[in-house]
Every structure is written in structure tokens, then in C-alpha cells.
Symmetry: C2
């Protein structure tokens, strides 16, 4: 009944292990790996609804100048301050390379004027000042938001009842700054600013180390890429865990727990019994499973209000990196107000195969999805040609990945907190529910929604479980960092 033999299986099976991990994305696999690494005697089963491991990472092969090469259609960037993913990459023997960002960049906002710049956007002075103060304000506010439990911030209630859109309307006095910030948040979250709680944005920003780290491609947000693609991380982890322990095409249907065991039944009727379970599925997916006893109200109220964003990613390969020859970095930020194109970066592979990567997100991606594939491709190429010249239309290969259409994921890159639910954030995302522990990058306290957050959250859940099953393998220091239920979290509401 392993991943390969799955199709042949005739009747429902019953499997008993120590720990069941639900979700074979980076977080679930990190949890399973950490468990088996610390104690190889632990029997672990990983259940995955899809037919592959890797979750929101996905590496694909495209036609390239040198024949063919691989690119990432899902999560791809890592950075030096993203310690959890960097350590794992090193441990697995993978290598990173820098995001190319030399040369001039392009920006187009609502006034339709194409501007080039190197470090500081060539926007009117007053727009730059406005943007600078907005980002400084966000940094200053976000530093007041505790990462473990954002609702402990003294302005939590107020900031959680305002959307990012409303906040920017109040703060920005130039249309340009508002539009530039709109673009950045849209690409970052895959959601419109009107769909995002201000407190959620502030917590995410703080967890990443500030707006600079998030947005500046020379900093940790988009600093490095992984040679050969990020899905390798999951594939290598799956090998280490043992493929016979990973059950693909096994969507979870019901979850029943009592004082001694958790019984997890998949849609095919297979039953997995375990002492502890780790759920790394996305919040709304977890909420759609049938829990008995049912999920605590605080989890449910958060999960229901943390939908995935909506993002389409495209990769375009070229014969030459013509933009580099002409002194451009390949970076384009184009206001969603005037067209579909939102963000483009150089994606030339470490083998030197030239490419660009770009994103369409949120409301733009919704419109986008309703068009025919050929029209979408033509629209992207002509939009890029507006900046980089007609050569942009002569590509070798073009592929797009609509994460909203990905089964069991239904969006990306991360899940976005709507207004009015952050009160449940700490207890909803991280607090164990009897014998069930909760991971997934959304529950991370550093770089949540990033690859690194997925690893951090996975390791945390492994430590929580080991604390119960193999207490000798975890230190008091590690246990403190689980922080899954800060005592302070309840105080304010009681």
C-alpha cells in the first residue's frame, strides 16, 4: 500500500503506527523526517491527498536555450536569514544560487508611465517620500505585534478590524505610493489588500524581519534559489523517510480521537491508527475534514477565515537573456490597475538557460483564469514586450501554473487572515487539540508562508510529539520554542 503499489490495492487497509503526518508538503515531510531522524524506531506514516509530494513546491522541465532545463512553478526563493530552510538545504546536499538583480528595473503605475531605476524607483519625489513613510509606519507598527500571538499587541482589536486597503487609504496621500504598495502586497499574499487584515499583514511582516527583508530582492525574501528546483527538497526528504511510509492519493475524511489513539480514515476507507497525529494541511482543508470530537471553536473560526490567496505563476524561456545585454535586471513591477502583469524577475537557470518568471495575483488572476490559454500567453508576452522590447515575444517555451486550480491547495502562495479572526491565531494555529498537533507554514513564527516557515513549523510539531512519545530526545530549550500555547494568549480575552 505504498505510493507505487497504491493503485493495485483492492480493499481498505488498516495500518497502525506511532505518528501519522497528514500532508506531504515541506512541512509534513520536515516533521516526519525530524521524528525518524531523532528516533529511527518511531513508526511514521505520511498521508497525502495528491499524487505527489511537495505541496506548494513544484519543479517542471521546459525547453531551454541549452536543450531543456528545470524551473520552479511553486515556492522557490530562500534567503540567508531563513535559517530553517537553509540548514535543511545544506543537510540534503543541495546548493543555492543568487537571484540575479543587476541592472536597471522597470516600474509602471496608474499613470501608465514606464520608469526605470536601479535602487530607488524613479518615482516623483513626493511619491517616494509617501512610500517611504508608509513602509516605515508598517515596520514600526509590525514591531509592536508579537509573532507568537499577534493579538497581545495593544492595538490588536483595532488593527484586526481594518483591512490593509482601508489602512493605506488612510495613510497614503499620493496615488502612486498607494499603487506601488498595492502591487507589493498583492504579489506577496496573492490577495487584494481589501481581503487582508491589517494585523495579519503586520504579524507576517514582523515574522519575516520587516518590509525590507520581504520586498527587497537583494535581501532574504528573494535572495537565493535552489539549483535543480525546490521540489527536490521534498523528494529527498521522502526518500529519507522511506517511500513505503508515504501514502499518496490518500485524502483524509474522518479523524476520531480518544484518550489513547487517533483513528484517521481516508476517502477510500483505509484506517490509520496512531498515538499522535500531525496535521500540516492548509487551514480551510483541515476544517473540511470530519473531526470527532469536533475541532475547538477557536481553530474552526480561524481556519474558516484563513483562505489561500490566488496566484498564477508563469515561466518564459528564451534563447538569450537579452534584457541583461541591454543593462536590465529583468525586474518589472507593473500596477495591476492598468493591466494584468504584476511582477516579473530574471529566472535564468544556474546552467545559464535564460528565462523570466512572473506572477499574476488576486483579482487580476481571477479575470486571467477566465480567458483562453492562448490569449493569456499572448497577453503576458506583449505586456513584457512593452518594457523589454519585441524580443520578449520570441520565447522558446511558456508555462503557467494556476495554483487556484491545484487540487487540495486551491490557491497560494500562502493563506491570508481576513479581518476579525486574529484573536484565535495563536490557539487556532498552534495549540494542540488533544493528540493532534498542527504544523504547516501558516503556523510558523519565522517566515510564515515561506518555505522556511514550513520547515520550522514541521520541526516544531515533531518536537511536540517527541515530547510525549520520546521525551529523552528533546531538550527543555527546544520545548520552550514550541510555544504552542503561550500562557499570555488567554489572559487578554478572559
Amino acid at each position: 500500500m505504498n505510493a507505487n503499489a497504491d493503485e493495485k490495492m483492492a480493499s481498505p487497509a488498516s495500518v497502525e503506527v506511532d505518528v501519522v503526518v497528514v500532508g506531504a508538503g515541506l512541512s509534513g515531510l520536515s516533521a516526519a523526517y525530524e521524528l525518524t531522524k531523532r528516533d529511527p524506531s518511531l513508526r511514521v506514516a505520511v498521508l497525502e491527498a495528491k499524487d505527489r509530494v511537495g505541496g506548494r513546491t513544484l519543479t517542471t522541465t521546459l525547453k531551454a536555450a541549452g536543450g531543456e532545463d528545470v524551473w520552479d512553478l511553486g515556492g522557490q526563493w530562500v534567503g540567508s536569514s531563513q535559517t530553517h530552510i537553509m540548514a535543511l538545504i545544506q543537510e540534503l546536499g543541495l546548493e543555492v544560487y543568487s537571484q540575479y538583480d543587476k541592472g536597471k528595473k522597470y516600474m509602471k503605475l496608474g499613470d501608465n508611465k514606464i520608469r526605470t531605476f536601479t535602487s530607488i524607483p524613479a518615482l516623483p519625489f513626493w511619491v517616494l517620500i509617501d512610500l517611504y513613510f508608509l513602509m516605515r509606519k508598517i515596520d514600526s507598527m509590525s514591531s509592536q505585534v508579537p509573532i507568537e500571538d499577534p493579538y497581545q499587541c495593544q492595538y490588536a482589536e483595532k488593527w484586526d478590524s481594518i483591512t490593509v486597503e482601508e489602512f493605506m487609504q488612510q495613510q497614503c496621500w499620493t496615488a502612486g505610493a498607494k499603487e506601488a504598495a498595492d502591487c507589493l502586497f498583492l504579489i506577496l499574499g496573492g490577495a487584494d489588500c481589501s481581503q487582508m487584515s491589517l494585523l495579519f499583514l503586520l504579524a507576517q511582516t514582523n515574522a519575516a524581519g520587516g518590509t525590507g527583508a520581504v520586498f527587497d530582492s537583494s535581501q532574504s525574501g528573494q535572495e537565493f534559489k535552489v539549483k535543480g528546483g525546490t521540489q527536490q527538497i521534498s523528494s529527498l526528504l521522502a526518500e529519507k523517510i522511506g517511500k513505503q511510509n508515504i501514502f499518496l492519493n490518500h485524502p483524509v475524511m474522518t479523524v476520531t480521537q480518544d484518550d489513547t489513539q487517533v483513528h484517521i480514515t481516508t476517502t477510500k476507507g483505509d484506517v490509520f491508527k496512531c498515538s499522535r497525529a500531525i496535521f500540516t494541511t492548509m487551514p480551510q482543508q483541515t476544517a473540511s475534514m470530519q473531526f470527532n470530537p469536533c475541532l475547538p471553536a477557536e481553530k474552526l473560526e480561524l481556519f474558516k477565515r484563513m483562505p489561500a490567496g490566488y496566484i498564477v505563476k508563469f515561466i518564459i524561456t528564451y534563447q538569450t537573456a537579452f534584457w541583461r545585454d541591454e543593462g536590465f535586471s529583468g525586474e518589472i513591477v507593473s500596477s495591476g490597475k492598468t493591466d494584468l502583469l504584476l511582477g516579473v524577475l530574471d529566472a535564468t537557470s544556474p546552467n545559464g538557460n535564460p528565462a523570466l518568471v512572473g506572477f499574476v495575483a488576486a483579482k487580476h488572476a481571477v479575470k486571467w483564469s477566465s480567458q483562453e490559454a492562448s490569449k493569456r500567453k499572448a497577453a503576458v508576452l506583449s505586456a513584457i514586450a512593452e518594457f523589454l522590447g519585441p524580443q520578449a515575444e520570441e520565447c522558446l517555451d511558456y508555462v503557467e501554473k494556476n495554483w487556484g486550480e491545484e487540487p487540495y491547495t486551491l490557491g497560494g502562495p500562502g493563506c491570508i487572515g481576513g479581518t476579525g479572526c486574529m484573536a484565535y491565531y495563536a490557539a487556532g494555529l498552534r495549540k494542540p487539540f488533544k493528540r493532534i498537533h498542527f504544523g504547516g507554514t501558516e503556523s510558523a513564527t519565522a517566515w510564515c508562508s515561506y518555505l522556511s516557515g514550513a520547515v520550522q513549523a514541521g520541526i516544531r510539531t515533531a518536537i511536540e510529539v517527541l515530547h510525549h512519545l520520546r521525551p529523552q530526545t528533546v531538550t527543555q530549550e527546544e520545548l520552550k520554542q514550541t510555544a504552542y500555547c503561550p500562557d499570555s494568549a488567554q489572559k487578554k480575552n478572559d
Copy 2:
């Protein structure tokens, strides 16, 4: 393989019908009934995940002064302007009776002062003025929001990026008015005002005919109750449809459609093939099913952001309606700021068995859920005793229903639109997706989230389907009222 024989079924079955209706709540059953009533030759199958029909209605038996009697733990109120449910009640031979509202009412707000009143709350004059202007403002704004497609309103974008909480903070200049309005919206939606898009509230209010109709128990919102309970409506509909056509315990897993058929597979592996399908499941539940091809982006983005509210309803039965004897109506509105109790009304049965009904909602219900059952009961009784005297603690029976714990429903009374998703409301909720039509009370254009809306939406989907399968049974006039895709809906965004 009907509802009763279901347990005996050994191997997956394959059923072929003309129409599959998913969901045996009031909307799905209304759709199936309308289909078979107009053309008895139509083969219809209704799939239901739960082990009962009735959805968000649920009637239960309690100890009562006269031995025992029945009360509604789910949706219960109907009103004379709710034409769809009133016609159905008459057709089914059921009777309604008036909500008792004679005598003095109680109100307690953040100042902890208990006030009694008959028609106008005995609040300070300036609070009343403030509340009056707030409601007038909401009525005036909501009349500008087209019910079929709220996003056609000229302020749609702005109003959809503001929460109801933020709007009230801006509008109210007294704490009392803000608190009173908070209570009303909280009970109405089962969600905190910070979780609700202002545009969504305005559209809902307009669909119900204004704030007066919604809040005043003498008007249509809470005008009548159904003798014997509202679940009878679904039970009687199920009989008319034929119990052999209703498949309980059949949660839908995958939905595949091509140019000729829809194939719906349940979690047990049964396959239902049909020409047209009607989904009346709640938005987030529908989103969690596997559609192939996948749901259009506009549906997905709306469904992900329309979570169910969270509400706990309790019924308390008494030997005597002592509050009536003392000149009180039984109505209590108590600010959630000071305690758990939010809303209470007289629930004396048409047989004269005295009772009270009450609600705890949203953040109060979340705290509530984490307490022990005995403590919850004691808290409710002592809170009511604060208003009605010590007799309130001497009840015959007490029952509570936490709708957040109801499988496949996960909340109530309705689903609440978060900020930033109303642009997809018309196309997301009502536009058919190839051979699949969408009902459910959330998609109604009159009294949505009410019982009447469920019936209206069910009949609309039936007419849509009949238009394709039995065109001679529908009139042009009826077809116009389907309005599932107003031409105007796209114009603004294109």
C-alpha cells in the same frame, strides 16, 4: 440504496438520474420538489452528507409543563413578507403562530444598567438619536445596493473594503449606540462586526427589506413560528420527493462533468450520473469538494471567503411563563461586552408550554464552547435570572445546540461575506458552471440566510434546470427571475 437501506449496502453503486441535488436542506429539497412537481417523469436523486434531512433546521422534543413538546434548535422564524416560505408552509398544510412580544423588554449595554422598555429602548436620548441615525444611514446606503449584484453599487469597492466594525466606529458618536448595534448584528449574522464586509451587510439588509424588517420582532424577521417545528417542512418535502430518492450519509467527494453528463462520486464510492446537478451545500463545503474541471476562480474566491457564522442556540422550558405574568415579553438584549448572554425571546409553544429561546454568537460563542456543559447552563440561567428574577433558574429542561459543531455545517445561522470578495458575489453564488447550478439560502435575492431565501434559491435552480430539460414547464417570466448572470455583472470589471 435508499435512506433506510443505506447501512446494508455492500459495494459501491452506480445510479443514473436526470438531476442530482446535493444537500437535503430546505433549499435542496425545495429544488427537488419543484422539479418533480412540475414534471413527475423527472428522475431526481438528493444526496445528503448527514444522517438526516433539514440542514440548518432541527426540531427537538423537550420536557415541558404539559409533559413534553417540540422546539426548534435551528432556523425557526418566518414572516408575512417572506413569500416563498409562507407559500410552501401553506402548501404543506402547516400552520404558523405569532412570536409573543407583548409587554416590557429588557436591555443591558456596556454601562451594566438594566433598562426596560416597550417600543423604544429606554436608552439616553442621545444614544437613541445616534442609533436612529445609524439605522437610517444603513437603510439609505443599503437601498443603493442592487440585490442581484451588490457590486454594481457605485461605492461597492469602498464599502467592500471596510468592515462593519470600522463603519460603526466612524458613524457612532456614543458607545451605547455602537454596543446596541453590535448586539443586533452579532445575533443576526453569528459573526463579529469586524468579520463582516460592510457591503455584504448592506446587501443582506436590502434583500430583507431594511433594518426594521430584520430587527423588529413584530415585523417579518421574527414575526411567526411554525407549529410543530420547521424541520417538518423538510420531512414533508422528503416524503413528497420520495424517500427512496434521498440518499443520506452520502457526502460528495468528486464532481466530474463533460459536455453531456455530471458524475458525482460520494465518499463511499457510489457514482451518481446525471444530466444536470444542483449544489445547495454551503460555500466553503462546496469549495472543499474535488471538481473536475475545477470551479471557476470567481466562485472559488467567493466561497473561500464566505464562512458560516458561529452560533449557539438554547431553549429553556418552564412550568409557567412567569415573565408574562409580570408584564414582560421575555425579550432581553444584553451587550456582549459585559457577559455571554446576547439575545433571548419568549418561546412558549402553541400548546402553551412556557419556554425561552436564546442565542450566544461569534466570539462569545467561541469562549462559551470551551466551557463545561454544566457551567454553560448555569451561566445562562443566572444571566437570565439577573433580568427575570430567580424563577428563571428553576427550569424544567435546558438544551443547547452549538451549530459550529454540526458536521458539514460548521456554523450558522448564515454565511458571512468577508471584505474584498463581493465583486464575485453574483457570478460566484448564482452563475451556473456548465451543467451545475447553485442554490442554498446564501444565493437568494430575497431574505437570503433565512428559511425563505433557501426556498427561493431552491426554486430558482429548479427553474434553471427545467429550462434545459423541460423547457415547456417554465415561463419566460420565471426565467427572467432566475437572473443567475446579470449581463451588467461583468461590465464594471471589464
